[in-house]
Amino acid sequence: MQCPESMRVQAYFDGEVDAVVAADIERHVEGCEHCRAQLQDLERARTALRRELTDYRASPALRARISAALDQEDSSRSRQRKLPGRAPWRTPPFWLGAMGGVGASAIAAALVVLLLTPLLNNPLVDDVVGAHLRSLMPTHLIDVVSTDKHTVKPWFAGHTDVSPVVADFAEQGYRLLGGRADYLDHQRAAVVVYQHGAHVINVFSWAADKRAGRNCRAWRGSCAI
């Protein structure tokens, strides 16, 4: 059985009532066994939840991923700012309909330019190089540490949009270190990390619409191979 005041008692417990109502409820609780028990229950549950519930925290890997995503967002914003003329989001909305067709052709043209531009002028390459350099900073390199490809490969299933090739080249002198999720080309890219001598090699894989996405797939040190 519940006291009809139980909703107000809860609001009182949560500090949602003013002083006048609070005094009123306190008077009621003094004479009401149900509400006294309810207040005790509320208090006990809150204490237990605050004390015993696992205090989840964002992992360093997640912090690094977010920081990298914000870096990329920042750099793409500054690239847009360098473009001559009006920024696209400042265009008055009623123009959008009329300009739609022109816009589409412009995007198509931009894509063609992007595809024909030599590799090193491609902003994506900047992003890959940026991601590679970032990975060399302490604690950024690896999300899943393992020299066993049977551990590294399945890890990617929940963390990236592609399932990359994870091979073992230890006999050839390229030791598997582990894997990492990175953010490239607006998607969750998979990075397989190898070591050769003192060099760290990041192999990035991501799905680019119909392109294999592997035209610049490996970096040794800071030089492209």
Partner: protein, 181 residues
């Protein structure tokens, strides 16, 4: 790093742990929570100019909640894209379940903790309102803003969630006392 990034890091980034805790209780796995939070931080950064003056924590948690529901809706549609390779073809899908994800085993351990397990057994609606009220210490108005329902609904939902947790707790205690010889 320009001014926007600096202001974002000062005002929004301090709530990253709260965002993650909330996402972790909304979703079923750490990986899902990671993704929802990363997407939410990116969207928050893009829409940062809209924040002005309002409460950054409630605002961020609202975005986390939206990202999580979007991800849930898209999950069925998402296609896992394997890159073609000879090596891959031989090893096949069987490998994926072969080694347990370390984070998955962490959930297994969490399950041993009574309150975590009881919380996990509640509905998403009840988990959400309990976490916002008891862990994040938000008032009814803020909870209403994050969950997109009127304050009256927050109050009744909170009452039902607390009652549900209490009855699970009681059932659990009874089961335990029966189990002990």
């Amino acid at each position: 790093m320009d001014d926007k990034r600096g202001r974002f890091e000062a005002e929004v980034l301090p709530h990253l742990d709260a965002a993650y805790r909330f996402a972790r209780w909304l979703s079923r796995s750490p990986a899902e929570a990671d993704d929802a939070v990363q997407e939410a931080m990116l969207r928050a950064f893009r829409g940062f100019d809209a924040l002005r003056g309002s409460d950054a924590k409630a605002w961020l948690l609202t975005i986390v909640r939206n990202c999580h529901s979007t991800a849930m809706r898209q999950q069925q549609r998402r296609v896992f894209v394997p890159l073609p390779a000879d090596d891959d073809a031989q090893e096949g899908e069987a490998m994926i379940a072969a080694t347990p994800d370390p984070q998955e085993s962490a959930i297994g351990r969490d399950d041993e903790r009574t309150l975590d397990r009881l919380m996990a057994s509640l509905s998403a609606e009840h988990r959400e309102v309990l976490v916002l009220r008891e862990i994040e210490d938000m008032d009814y108005r803020e909870i209403a803003a994050v969950t997109g329902v009127p304050i009256g609904t927050v109050m009744s939902r909170l009452a039902r969630a607390r009652a549900a947790l209490k009855s699970r707790w009681r059932e659990d205690n009874e089961a335990e006392s029966h189990a002990v010889p």
